[in-house]
Symmetry: C2
Subunit: 391 residues, 2 copies
């Protein structure tokens, strides 16, 4: 959906704000305290699938524009670009951007699909990971086999998949795939300082997530791993019998969903090639293993710390919170940023209030009402300042 909201002022700059109204699957409804698609306000939070990612945050620029309109008119020409395919990698967006190239001549690109890393200290996002969506499929026989007749000598697909995954990631969290991190820039002192500037409160993290042990690649802090290092994440696994009770079978097929979050500087194609080479070498005897790309593939993206729009966002956040914003990065991916850069030639500046504890993609996703109200005020301030900076 492309919406255009012209400024009251001639020669005002044009600002595009991106958001998305599609959401991740809700998962099992019984895992939710209230129904996932009926918003429920409890304890200063609104609970619903999409509350924070991204429906709630997508409303901020709309409400800001309404307020500015009521106060005399928009200081900038606003273009709202809202899509319904973000969670599946925005497959239609590149063609749509190409098709509407004339309508999308803008001076600044903001995104309301943004993360704020702390509730009290505002953060400004400088880089995103790339994303590769894969399935690892293992087959050991033509049909499931009865374990009484075949156990001991027929290979087992569920076990072979487990062994293959275990060969890819060590118990300490190091990825064991040769050249998996090829191209990733070595961290310099500035990167390390940036990661250290944002406190990582282990006790609070444990309380919020139920995680007992922080884990991962040796030689890096948790945040450094998440921001700067490529990761290999098993999103799901299945094979053989999964029902109640017992079924004495040797599974013939087992599958894992895998996503890799790759670092700035890395080529998605070379990461995929490194995984394929590993699987060819380590697939257990008797297992035919295949790695299939099942979703969008995007590289990482980074924005310059001295970008003028970044400066405007920093000022607006400083005024809203009374605290100097912190430059941060993320382990999440923004394929949309690569697409917008390709089509419009502009970097995407993030401005949204999805907080790390707000259970995006999980049951009981929520948005703080406080941010639901702060978002439109900050957007109005940013749009006003941009009119001054970019006449």
């Amino acid at each position: 959906v492309i919406g255009r909201w012209p400024s009251a002022h001639p020669d005002a700059p044009t600002v595009l704000v991106y958001g998305h109204f599609d959401v991740q699957p809700s998962g099992a409804e019984e895992d939710w305290t209230s129904a996932p698609f009926e918003p429920d306000v409890r304890d200063g939070r609104i609970y619903a699938r999409g509350a924070t990612d991204d429906k709630g945050n997508m409303l901020a620029p709309i409400r800001a524009a309404r307020a500015l309109e009521a106060a005399g008119g928009l200081p900038v020409n606003l273009v709202l670009l809202f899509e319904g395919e973000e969670e599946i990698g925005s497959p239609s967006l590149p063609a749509l951007l190409e098709q509407h190239r004339e309508q999308l001549r803008v001076d600044v690109v903001l995104s309301a699909d943004g993360v704020m890393l702390s509730d009290t200290a505002p953060t400004v996002m400088l880089s995103f990971k790339g994303l590769i969506s894969l399935e690892l499929r293992v087959r050991t026989a033509a049909v499931e086999l009865h374990s009484g007749l075949h156990a001991g000598f027929a290979p087992n697909a569920a076990l072979a998949l487990s062994q293959l995954l275990a060969s890819m990631v060590a118990p300490d969290g190091s990825v064991l795939v040769d050249r998996f991190d090829a191209g990733a820039t070595a961290l310099d002192d500035n990167d390390r300082a940036q990661a250290a500037a944002l406190p990582f409160e282990v006790d609070a993290y444990r309380a919020a997530t139920g995680v007992t042990t922080i884990w991962g690649e040796p030689g890096y802090t948790p945040r450094e791993r998440n921001w700067f290092r490529p990761t290999l994440d098993v999103n799901g696994i299945w094979g053989g019998f999964q029902g109640e009770g017992t079924k004495t079978v040797v599974p013939a097929i087992a599958t894992a969903k895998i996503t890799c979050r790759i670092a700035p500087g890395q080529s998605p194609e070379s990461v995929i090639a490194s995984l394929r080479a590993h699987i060819e070498r380590h697939s257990p005897a008797g297992a035919a293993s295949e790695l299939v790309v099942v979703g969008g593939v995007s590289g990482a993206s980074a924005i310059r710390a001295d970008d003028p729009t970044i400066d405007v966002v920093r000022e607006a956040l400083r005024d809203a919170y009374g605290v100097e914003p912190t430059d941060v990065r993320t382990g999440a991916s923004l394929p949309v940023a690569s697409m917008l850069m390709d089509a419009l030639g502009l970097p995407t500046v993030m401005l949204g209030w999805c907080l790390p504890d707000e259970r995006m993609h999980a049951p009981d996703e929520f948005l703080r009402l406080e941010n639901f109200d702060r978002g439109p005020r900050v957007y109005a301030d940013v749009l006003t300042r941009l009119a001054a900076v970019r006449p």
Copy 2:
């Protein structure tokens, strides 16, 4: 169901024949060539769930008794004991055997739930494995976590489960759990000769199953592994996202179904204890791992090679096939045999025609029509000979 069919002759011995009419789940109907619960005859085979395990074979003693009755009367008193819970471990059978103890005073116990290892050379079954049904449950967090925000430092349940399973079984198929084989008798020359006597035709096995590589514990032939060595079989695995497309989550929970086939001489309890000790030592950092017994637990059972009923069965099979029967064992389990021994004090002699390629527990299960007709003839012969042996 207990059915009684008295002999025409006073003082005839009483023979109990066991069978079961319950079946394994059919699995996805689209994996079947014809509907699983509508028997379909094709190419001299009858296809249906339960065709060979055990409905088709269960009919053999009934049809034998009908033929004997028509020919002048049964030579033995026949007790038919057919149950509907075999595939879930016969939970009600022990109490039922106890309750009907007086009705079940018999001289011989046969079972129509029997396997024949070859289509041309008849086999006589001397031992069964024990069975332990387990779930291995791994938890790493309270909720699924977004992989962009948590990857690199939050432990992953699907990966932790994979690592734990890979720690339990080596790529070559050796079980790595300390004391997993405690109590299993070392193989002697007789055992090795018995296993070698039955040819294991690798090419035919590959063609029938789609298995490309025979696998397993070094130092044993495939058949020795299956008959004499305890095995650890992953029957199924699941955790995290299993749908279409991509969901960028770090799973919080993952589960594996495991059955262990234990050897004569082993204690199920000590095998479970060895697994628990292994899991405690090898559960990856950040993973809470629990092993739960979810089904029946039974020890292995063996019958003496010189049992008189075994001799009668050997003679009847020799006459039916024109070939000397081979003594064999199996990697499958017969909890029912333990229960019948406990309640009736008699060993169970197997007489059934479930062949290894007949896809029991899998899609397109079938029974050869040739054996559907041979079964009643051999049963009639066995019952007649038993009347002579046990007056």
